[in-house]
């Protein structure tokens, strides 16, 4: 009774096939997006003249960066098992707030930016608290916040300026200094890259680190993967979930600032309709819609794909309505790939 043979020996388990290293690499959540990005890059590089030029590359990288920052934050939230539909409108709200504070009421630019960040975080906290306290799905809670922000953005802007945009940011003291941080251009290898590209890369790296190498990241995967188990093991579930909503709100503020300093004008409709694009980028990058699986790098690659297609279609002089159809196709394909990931992991239900 005291001598027990191991149930499995190291070499001889007939149920386990030896996994080829390449196959193992292919199982990583971001691999599908990586391959798709390569294919799309190759296609537009060959078929259009402008795509590979320094100016062309800087354009699609800039385009990808704004979506990428949001997609990475949204991916982290989705891994935690939640959605944030207010993320798109938030990029408009924060820009409009800074515009209104400075051009209409003459507030100090930096103070206005800080205040806009605090307001964004407050909206994120309300989203998070409502989800955690009431158990209402975040899809519904943030859908409501989305419509509220959309209404406030449009009505508020009209009320203040009589127009549907806030202009004249260039005349605000400190705008040039702000532009260095949020709207500047940094030349790299002959590419005049907008500073947002570096924000995007930096944020992806930090988020990846948090997800894979910190306790907080472990908790996010656990909460999204099996909430009940996360609670049973003593993880601070509420705090972590609310923190994720603060994350998307803060990312919304960052993108709001990046677009504000880029063009010095904010349209009242900024960001509306983009919330689903962030989700699509995250899903194309390997995030499961049901939570508990995904990667920040994948979401960043999803955004890169989106940016390349968005500009590639322009360079190829196609009707840009094809973009939407293409996006839908990508999403469907990604969801099917992700489904097989779940099946492989033996997750039922």
């Amino acid at each position: 009774m005291t001598t027990l043979t191991p149930v499995r020996s190291r070499t001889g388990d007939e149920r386990l096939a030896v996994t080829h290293p390449v196959k193992r690499l292919l199982r990583r959540p971001e691999m599908g997006a990586f391959i798709a990005a390569l294919v799309i890059f190759g296609y537009f590089s060959v078929s259009t003249a402008a795509f590979l030029t320094p100016a062309g590359a800087a354009t699609w990288l800039y385009s990808a960066s704004l979506f990428g920052i949001m997609a990475v934050a949204v991916a982290m939230l989705m891994i935690g098992g939640e959605f944030d539909l207010s993320a798109g409108a938030m990029t408009g709200t924060t820009g409009l707030l800074v515009g209104a504070f400075t051009t209409q009421w003459g507030m100090n630019l930096w103070l206005a930016m800080l205040l806009a960040l605090l307001i964004a975080l407050a909206v994120g906290a309300v989203n998070g608290l409502l989800v955690v306290k009431t158990g209402i799905p975040s899809f519904i809670v943030t859908l409501a916040t989305f419509f509220i922000l959309q209404g406030v953005n449009l009505a508020g802007t009209k009320l203040l300026t009589g127009q549907v945009a806030i202009q004249g940011m260039t005349l605000v003291p400190g705008f040039e200094a702000g532009k260095v941080i949020f709207g500047g251009v940094i030349p790299v290898f002959g590419l005049d890259l907008k500073v947002s590209v570096f924000w995007w890369i930096g944020l992806t790296a930090v988020t990846s680190w948090v997800l894979l190498r910190t306790r907080y990241g472990n908790w996010i995967f656990a909460i999204g993967g099996q909430l009940q188990s996360a609670m049973q093991t003593g993880i601070p579930v509420r705090r972590t979930r609310i923190g994720l909503f603060l994350g998307t709100a803060a990312a919304g503020w960052l993108v709001g600032m990046l677009s504000l300093f880029d063009v010095a004008t904010v349209q009242a409709t900024t960001g509306i309709g983009q919330e689903f694009i962030y989700i699509i980028c995250a899903v194309v990058g390997g995030c499961l819609l049901t939570g508990g699986y995904g990667s920040a790098i994948g979401a960043a690659l999803g955004a890169l794909i989106y940016g390349m297609i968005l500009q590639g279609i322009v360079f190829a002089q196609w009707d840009n309505n094809w973009l939407k159809a293409f996006l839908g196709g990508m999403l469907l394909l990604a969801v099917l790939v992700n489904l097989s990931v779940r099946r492989q992991a033996g997750v039922r239900a």
């Binding site: 995967f221 656990a222 993967g225 033996g346 997750v347």
Partner: protein, 260 residues
Amino acid sequence: MTGAAPILEVRGIGKVYGSVIALSDISISVGAGEVVCVLGDNGAGKSTLLKVLAGVHPHTSGEVLLDGRAIRFAGPRNALDAGIATVYQDLAIVPLMPVWRNFFLGAELSSGVGPFSRLRVAEMRAITLAQLGRMGIDLRDVNQPIGTLSGGERQSVAIARAIHFGARVVILDEPTSALGVKQAGVVLRYVAQARDRGLGVVFVTHNPHHAYPVGDRFLVLNRGASLGEFDKAGIGIEELTRLMAGGAELETLAREIERG
């Protein structure tokens, strides 16, 4: 009774939910290196007893003794700190996460301060592999999602986790009920392994065929009361099964069915 001094003991314990007497006058003890089985049909009071032992619900009469001293657990965390770990049926695992991340879930090892703290990944992988090895679970890869393991292996990882985090007594809630014959055998093997490592095991089950091979003593519950506590030497498996199933009732049923 065996010679081992009991780690956890309950004497004449009772539990009343409002006007429902869920448990009355139950006594049981578990010492190091002992497997005590709590047997009973559905509704016999197994879960209630388990919850009292695990510190989930306070008892309403009798006393709980830890190392011979009377104690009242304030909650599951309290019981856990005292070395009483409970492995529930759903195991508190996250199927999509790697085995090693599950092993350390909620108790991750990290170094560094504040935002710069980072997980000690290599160390956690090594500990997981070593701890599972000590239980006789030989995994090829602790990076595989725990959902890819068989039901018995998952149960065993949960037991190994409880042991690693300082349990002296492990309470297992129906660890074999959802498993096939072979997988149940795997789990029983690990229960024996835990016993041999000097842990006290409380094995709650409704299956006498799983309890009998591994148990040292058996407490049979029926309708919230004890039908007796038996040493392995004092009872055979047929008698145990008969007792559990309500004895005479089952014989009557068998006769009725035969006639039909």
